[in-house]
């Protein structure tokens, strides 16, 4: 279920590091909890965020959730296909429905994030 090469946060985001850049999304668990997603609000390219700073929101019919940046960085690319098709986030949260791609400020920040196994254990313990 949870790709081994990603890292995870307790706020249910995932991050995939590729050199100096990273892709960020929300986990399968998150989209399941939210239910049918109706709207995603994402930042513009160029925006900068510190670790755990909110960079956007995800909305279902009756709830809004903030998205928290797993690491510090600057946004380079935004997944605009989610504007027209927020449902994609329910279907492919780990793949095609990535949220933003960033230039990572400090790759060592990823070390404090959870591995796939740790995230799965976290999910189990909170159940």
């Amino acid at each position: 279920m949870y790709p081994r090469e990603y890292r995870y946060t307790r706020e249910h985001e995932w991050i995939k590091l590729e050199g100096e850049r990273a892709t960020i999304g929300i986990t399968h668990y998150a989209q399941e909890q939210l239910g049918d997603i109706v709207f995603v609000e994402l930042p513009k390219a160029g925006a900068e965020f510190a670790v755990l700073e909110a960079f956007g929101t995800v909305e279902s019919v009756k709830a809004v959730s903030e998205l928290y940046s797993p690491v510090s960085g600057r946004v380079e690319e935004v997944n605009t296909s989610l504007n027209e098709n927020p449902a994609l986030l329910n279907r492919e949260p780990h793949g095609a429905a990535w949220l933003i791609k960033i230039r990572v400020k400090d790759p060592s920040e990823l070390n404090s994030l959870l591995t796939a196994e740790q995230y799965e254990a976290f999910l189990e313990s909170s159940a």
């Binding site: 109706v38 709207f39 019919v61």
Partner: protein, 508 residues
Amino acid sequence: MGDAMAKARPHVTPSEGLIFEKSSPGKHAYSLPPLDVPTVQPEEVLGAGFVRGEIAGFPEVSEIEIIRHFTRLSTWNYGVDTGMYPLGSCTMKYNPRINEVVARLEGLASEHPYQPAELAQGCLKILRALEQALLEITGMDAITLHPAAGAHGELTGILMVRAYLTAKGNPRQLVLIPDSAHGTNPATAAMAGYGVAPVKSNRAGQVDLDALRQLMTENVAALMITNPNTLGIFEDRIRDIAEIVHARGGVLYLDGANLNALAGVTRPGDFGADIVHLNLHKTFSTPHGGGGPGAGPVAVKRFLEPFLPLPVLEESPAGRLRWNFERPQSIGRVRAFYGNFGMHVRALAYILAHGPEGILQVTRDAVLNSNYIRKGLEDVYELSYPSPTLHETVFSDKRQARFGVRTMDIAKRLMDYGFHPYTVAFPLIVPGAMMIEPTESECKEELDLFIEALRAIAREAETDPDLVKTAPHTTRIRRLDEVTANRKPILRWKPAPPSAGPAPEVAD
């Protein structure tokens, strides 16, 4: 359900089109006397650039079509006139007909706010009488009737708090709000330029006094509290709460939404509140109208009086009433004119019909009804807190969730039994909340039917959960696709493009 008559009957023609879809050029319903002055050419008098073309898409229908259209629409609504609304903290009580009659009296409905005060004494006397009655009921010293609704009253109140504290040298930055509070509370604080810090509730469902003591600093402008709270539980330590807030120079704001549990029994002014807003459309019977209009007067203690919004109603020694605009410390205007006068008339009529004994009896019956329902359901639904409750009670769907049935499902199934649902999923501190307030307007029969209905649904949750999860089954319309409505909002009618066929208004 057998032969019992369903409360909200589906109409014979479930497919009632939009008014635009009934339109045909040449039909009309309006009636004007013939023009008795010379006609003018709009293009000449205004200039061609200022004159519009036709109002594209505006309906052209006859009077009988309008009567039938809106009458049919109305039959798809549930109302207090139809049956009980068990909505928590909404206080859906009877909307007395006499209130509607007096609000429409020619010499009241036709009065213009810019009439000189000498020619509006009738209106002003009504406002004065209402002010005095509300001050007595709340135990406060001064009041404004301007705010148009509860949330508007909240904003007015918090702006007054800000003005008061600013006058003392420091407006402060935070407002404390219990985690059980209504969403308007934090939204109001933000609109007034304050940050919000939540105060958690303890295991008894009340404000945690230790938590409050920790949070209450000299950077906190106010604590916004509802009493009884949204769980229906009276904050019996309210005087201690007031002390904690006052000791640090803060202001105690009471959200008066739940006044139906207190009127005639205790008064916010007597238990330490400095400022309270009232919802005339709740405790004082003015109709909800499908979502408004309401009215949200704000009553305050003497020290906040200078900050009341403009203008303030004053009485001369000779008994003449007028509006006073000379108020140097006022927060200013919170709206044009003087408030929702039409609702003030209705609220005053309600108070006059009841008198002191009536108001007290209302409160007693409201609390009796709620406890009767609590007793009738506490063996089948999970009570959120064991503490005694006043005019409302909160259950949770915990026992039914075992079968996959949640509070929203139970609420939808309740419609098949002819009732409007209770408040779903609020307050937020109770997962799966079912918030129930019957009000005093319900007779024992209606309460018994309601209890039976919920007990039946609890049984269905166990034996036939899918029936509950796909409810309602007998309403004109079934569960609506809210997801698509949010993803691709359609917020207005548009005429079909010429090439397409007629717009489909019914299922194929």
